[in-house]
Symmetry: C2
Subunit: 191 residues, 2 copies
Amino acid sequence: MQLLKEMILPKGRVDSEDILKVDGFLNHQIDVKLLNEIGKEFKVRYKNESVTKILTIEASGIAVACIAAQYFEVPVIFAKKTESKNLDAENYESQVYSFTKDKYYKIRVSKRYLNSADHVLIIDDFLANGSAVLGLKEIVDQANAKLVGVGIVIEKGFQQGGNLLRDKGLRVDSLAIIKSMKPGNIVFESK
Amino acid sequence: MQLLKEMILPKGRVDSEDILKVDGFLNHQIDVKLLNEIGKEFKVRYKNESVTKILTIEASGIAVACIAAQYFEVPVIFAKKTESKNLDAENYESQVYSFTKDKYYKIRVSKRYLNSADHVLIIDDFLANGSAVLGLKEIVDQANAKLVGVGIVIEKGFQQGGNLLRDKGLRVDSLAIIKSMKPGNIVFESK
């Protein structure tokens, strides 16, 4: 997606070999106009699928998922990372490893909101090692729902997540795939 | 806001004296159509203010803030609760007490994204004791930005947050104010 790449190039900051900061428009300050274009693009790519729910994970996936959901006219569900009095007792649960925070955490979705009739599109801001998507996929599987695909804003193509998911037969649509990056130099896959 | 109240009454679940679960449409599964109406209503209420940024706090404030931001045509910033390698070193920081999680946590906003030229509208899903809004207000103050007002989806009017903020001279717009609640019975303020 050209518009997204044109935003990443001047505004993305590569701080080390594996950290790309896009907190100016995607995951701290949010450029809602850009997210609208991203949402439209996901809809174009999944226009032939009957998506009934968009599933994401707190926190930074929520923005992309909600803006995109307007074009699909379906509800969003975001998997919760933390214990809370507000959460139901009956949940689907799985485990995710966060490299940026260097820890494992549980994620949960209430059984009220996902079932075997659902066709689920997973949406997230980043795909790196694939751990978050695999955790969300496990929740979709527990609900016996159908996983239609995975919509990703930025895939770090030099990490294993994308291949891992595609090798499992999942449909993955990443709007920008980074082939390599170092401070001052971000190279995208041409596709 | 009538539409919101009509959603809370059948779908909100009062589990104890102070826990109102609205995870069917607001903070776990998200009804994006409802959020659009909420966003429009905030814009109507703040149409005479020149808002430059919408500030919220992760996680469940992000959905409301992003959908509302479409009507204001401004970026959203969400304060981060957790340490992360993705966060800048230079941040505004404050402290928030969460009653639902029963702990204090730091919140942070990068100094890159908020400054003295900004007119900030704080948006959040719930107002109870007011701790989150006061934490966000402190960040706005640290940036020497102007706090235009506080837009809240559901205010628990029987807790002290609303009065606390209004007594400090803050403008608070809550779209539904709950006067009292117990299982099976939710009563709204008439205003």
